[in-house]
């Protein structure tokens, strides 16, 4: 992947993530402050498909954003680049995507 493509994907996924992370954090604080039990939280997340959509988008953006950041660190610290680095990061993205999707499916 070229530096230019990686840069664009990184910025776009960041733009998507910024509001989502804030809502996600707000949600956690709200649920905990409100003293909701696990069962109550689950009943709410499953009651509307909105949360499923929200967290699917979240997971997709994370699966793009995190591997690209890691890619830069590996490239600059170890000098590894090219095909092998792209494969490593592709695998990492897939792991994030699958584990994330699995978690979302359980709570929604």
């Amino acid at each position: 992947m070229s530096d230019a493509t990686a840069y664009m994907l990184q910025r776009l996924s960041a733009a998507v993530l910024a509001p989502l992370v804030l809502i996600h954090l707000g949600l956690i604080v709200y649920a905990i402050e409100g003293g909701l039990s696990a069962a109550e939280i689950l009943s709410r997340t499953t009651s509307t498909p909105l949360w499923a959509v929200f967290y699917f988008v979240f997971i997709i953006a994370v699966s793009i954003h995190a591997p690209l950041g890691l890619r830069n660190i590996i490239r600059e610290w170890t000098g590894r680049h090219g095909r092998s680095l792209d494969w490593m990061m592709g695998t990492f993205a897939l792991v994030l995507l699958l584990t994330g999707m699995r978690a979302v499916m359980v709570i929604t």
């Binding site: 070229s2 530096d3 230019a4 664009m8 490239r75 600059e76 610290w77």
Partner: protein
């Protein structure tokens, strides 16, 4: 009684060491004055570069107490720590000997980033008028006064981390060409700047802009290139 400065200077090549010299302190003394004093009075085979001594030519840059600086316009009072100076060659460039570095890769990267002007007019043609207040001319003017000193290049961590990164000065030059309406090589420029090791490799930490002795803003130029050549650019 004359105050004495303790000056440590890098001697030798890549595996060299710091050597200590005692230099009388003077009023309004620059770091270049100190180096010249050592070469004239204490150690005649000390190798270093300078030419203009007034901040025009960009040849005198060195690392002074860890920070890259133009030494002819850096006053000792401002940078010495307890009367101590450590003077080393610029970082991110191969040391030839003592304080002299090989600048060839620095200038090769200007070419790599598409920095060579291309025009289509000859001296027989009428000169194209450029409105001095146009947006492009103002942007070019803001970036154009680079003295090629490599201070920014020497202070950039991304240059250190990636051999293929062309660095702040080359991209700043590219940005002034981007805004030069007489430059006919725009397509080539775009290709070179967008390539790996070009503007999208920069991390925008702006160390370059902070250290530029003539107050240019290479980080700003690079950010403008990133935007202009992206899908949000107004023109490419």
């Amino acid at each position: 009684m004359t105050k004495i400065l303790t000056v440590k200077i890098w001697r030798g090549g890549k595996d060299g060491t710091l050597e200590s010299y005692s230099v009388p302190a003077r009023k309004s003394q620059t770091v270049l004055d100190v180096v010249t004093y050592i070469q004239r009075h204490l150690d005649a085979d000390l190798s270093y570069r300078f030419a203009c001594r007034v901040g025009m030519c960009g040849s005198c840059a060195m690392t002074v107490n860890g920070v890259p600086r133009w030494t002819c316009r850096t006053h000792v009072d401002k940078v010495s720590q307890d009367g101590q100076l450590i003077i080393e060659p610029l970082k991110n460039l191969e040391i030839i000997r003592d304080l002299t570095t090989d600048m060839v890769p620095f200038f090769e990267k200007w070419e790599k980033a598409g920095g060579r002007f291309e025009g289509k007019q000859s001296r027989a043609d009428k000169i194209t008028a450029i409105d001095p207040d146009s947006k492009k001319r103002l942007a070019a003017s803001a970036a154009i006064e680079c003295i090629n000193c490599a201070v920014c290049y020497s202070g950039c961590d991304t240059v250190r981390a990636r051999d293929d990164y062309v660095g702040p000065a080359a991209l700043n030059r590219a940005w002034s060409l981007f805004n030069d309406e007489k430059h006919t090589g725009q397509r080539k420029l775009k290709k070179s700047v967008k390539a790996d090791g070009g503007c999208y490799t920069c991390h925008t930490h702006a160390n370059c802009s902070q250290s530029c002795p003539v107050d240019l803003d290479p980080a700003g130029s690079i950010a403008s290139l990133k935007r202009s050549y992206s899908m949000f650019g107004s023109r490419s």
